[in-house]
């Protein structure tokens, strides 16, 4: 088995990323059914999205607008004329047995996105080229019932809910990405993350990967260095988080290398990413490409956005996330390395929100990058996914600032919030967290500690200041950690002077 370094030495990775975004429009792409998440099955359907005989599609204006915004944010050219096309194939979750999509006349083409990634030499920028951005519709959801293992005769079937069928999807396809070298997994992750941030900033989708409103299919191939040819690619689906993007690509690179080293062919196929093992499993073989028989959708007219409209939309674009981050770095006076760490951990936005709630920027950064990141890593989730909000953190910071919490106690509160015990005030009340500020109480506790450890106390009197640590520790234990350790130390040393 080759190591990662060895793989990179021998092979050049090529990436292709396809991201599907579920737009947050009020209604579906081709009909006026609502798009609420979590509705009862088949309560948001009509003859159109059920593919009933005689039904006709009718394009949602906001969906076109959102797609153009996305294209503009990705530096694409907006086609003066684009068309819908039918992609024909049979599948029960697709009511018409064709998907209305776009084929050779997509609405946006030829863009790019610069993403930042961390290297030992510092943050670097990589430009990912975008092939196209186009509109299509989502499918229904099928629930597989029965027949756990083995085929139980008559027990297996599926139940279909078409609420999701017809929800607008935007597909963003990169050109083949070359030159990522050893950073392929990180760059891919950074790309999806940056894309997500842009989409969120545009307000076109709630981009929740875990809810399926942002989906990523990762294509990867390895080519032996110097061969001059691209390797056979595999497509990995079911990549449901940013972390999975990185893991999936890494895993596939290893798998491809292993096969190539063994003299075996890499099969062109669709694979599924398995969260628990961090590897991929074979799905449907793509050896024989499905013949989709694309032709222009006769029920819909072409989309020809006017130059004026495009400029109006361009003017609406929010500040690009990278420019935004540069501005924040300047504002907060953050050194490059720390900024890089923040970007990498994905906490810039969250820190900004915490600052907006009144917190000091440095303190906010310390908390998110420090303690909360640590806890996130332990749980193997993104910092942003931790069940603690910027408001919570800002509150905690404020309480420390006025002395109602010590740093140590604050950490307990953070733990409590994350554990789901409530907001900071609730956690403090429930756990009875309180800084012991009453000097009388502190002195009493200190005297108890001295009385319990006379030898240690004597050492301190004799000049061995570090020995005070044991006494301070005892006092902290005595006060259930609610004393201000610094004040305890001060008072203790004063008493033992």
């Amino acid at each position: 088995m080759l190591t990662y370094d060895e793989i990179i030495e021998k092979y050049e990775p090529a990436l292709g990323l396809e991201v599907h975004v579920e737009l947050g429009t009020k209604t579906k792409m081709f009909c006026g059914c609502p798009t609420e998440f979590g509705a009862e099955p088949n309560t948001q359907v009509c003859p159109v999205c059920l593919g009933m005989p005689g039904a006709l599609p009718f394009v949602n204006e906001r969906a076109i607008e959102s797609t153009i915004l996305i294209g503009l944010a990705l530096n694409c050219s907006i086609a003066p004329m684009s068309r819908f096309a039918r992609k024909n194939y049979f599948y029960p979750d697709m009511p018409k047995n064709f998907q209305i999509s776009q084929y050779d006349e997509p609405i946006c083409t030829d863009g790019y996105l610069d993403v930042e990634y961390e290297t030992p030499e510092g943050m670097k920028t990589f430009r990912i080229e975008i092939e196209r951005v186009h509109m299509e519709e989502d499918t229904g959801k099928s629930l597989h019932v029965g027949g756990a293992t083995g085929r139980i005769h008559g027990a297996e079937y599926s139940l279909l809910d078409y609420n999701r069928a017809g929800i607008p999807l935007v597909e963003i396809v990169t050109k083949t990405v070359l030159g990522t070298e050893r950073y392929a997994p990180q760059i891919a992750k950074a790309y999806v993350k940056e894309l997500r941030d842009i989409l969120r900033a545009l307000g076109v989708s709630d981009v929740k990967m875990e809810q399926g409103s942002l989906r990523c299919d990762a294509n990867i191939s390895l080519s032996p260095r110097g061969s001059g040819k691209l390797g056979t690619r595999s497509e990995t689906k079911n990549v449901n988080s940013l972390r999975s993007v990185e893991r999936a690509i890494t895993s596939e690179m290893h798998r491809h290398a292993q096969r190539l080293e063994a003299g075996e062919r890499v099969v062109q196929e669709t694979r599924h990413f398995q969260e628990d093992s961090g590897t991929t499993r074979s799905g449907r073989s793509k050896e024989q490409a499905e013949d989709y028989r694309y032709f222009p959708e006769p029920d819909l007219l072409p989309v020809a956005p006017s130059a004026e409209w495009i400029e109006q939309l361009r003017a609406q674009l929010p500040e690009r996330p990278s420019a935004h981050r540069a501005r924040l770095q300047q504002l907060w006076q953050v050194p490059d390395k720390e900024m890089a760490a923040m970007i990498n951990a994905g906490v810039v936005g969250i820190v900004e929100e915490t600052v907006a709630e009144g917190a000091d920027p440095t303190k906010a950064r310390t908390w998110w990058l420090g303690e909360i990141s640590r806890l996130a890593n332990e749980r193997e989730v993104e910092v942003a996914e931790m069940p603690i909000t910027p408001k919570d953190v800002a509150e905690i910071i404020a309480l420390v600032a006025v002395g109602e919490l010590t740093d140590k106690l604050a950490r307990q509160v953070v733990e409590g919030v994350i554990a789901g015990e409530g907001n900071p005030k609730e956690v403090i009340a429930a756990r009875g967290i309180k800084v012991v500020s009453d000097e009388g109480e502190l002195i009493a506790a200190i005297e108890r500690a001295i009385a319990a450890q006379p030898e240690t106390a004597q050492k301190v009197r004799d000049g061995n200041i570090p020995a005070a640590g044991a006494l301070i520790g005892a006092v902290m234990k005595d006060t259930k950690g609610q004393a201000d350790a610094a004040r305890v130390r001060e008072l203790l040393l004063g008493l033992l002077a």
């Binding site: 209604t27 009509c46 949602n60 204006e61 099928s142 799905g283 007219l301």
Partner: protein, 99 residues
């Protein structure tokens, strides 16, 4: 234009999800060949400088506002379903990849 083989018809029938007997396939192969022979003449005039027409209407940008329109009730939606269960359409087991 090459002869339409039985295998070709079988492949097309698969794409179109039509179960055909061997007899039907053979008959259709012959018919398809005759019809294609008759219609292939469209190529005679389909020069590269002629643009295709996908719509008789010269309209563009026919869109509707992002406003909710009435939906069906689940009962209505499922009223014609060959099988249903708990407000969902019940279909036989689906082969192929998981969703």
């Amino acid at each position: 234009m090459s002869r339409i083989s039985n295998e070709e018809v079988a492949r097309i029938a698969q794409l179109a999800r039509l179960e055909l007997s061997a007899n039907e396939i053979a008959e259709l192969a012959g018919e398809l060949e005759a019809i294609l022979g008759a219609v292939a003449r469209v190529q005679e005039v389909a020069k590269s400088d002629v643009l295709p027409t996908s719509h008789p209407l010269a309209l563009v940008n026919v869109v509707r506002p992002d406003v909710v329109r009435p939906s069906l009730t689940p009962e209505s939606a499922l009223s014609g379903a060959p099988a249903s269960e708990e407000d969902r359409f019940r279909v036989p087991q689906i082969l192929g990849e998981e969703a």
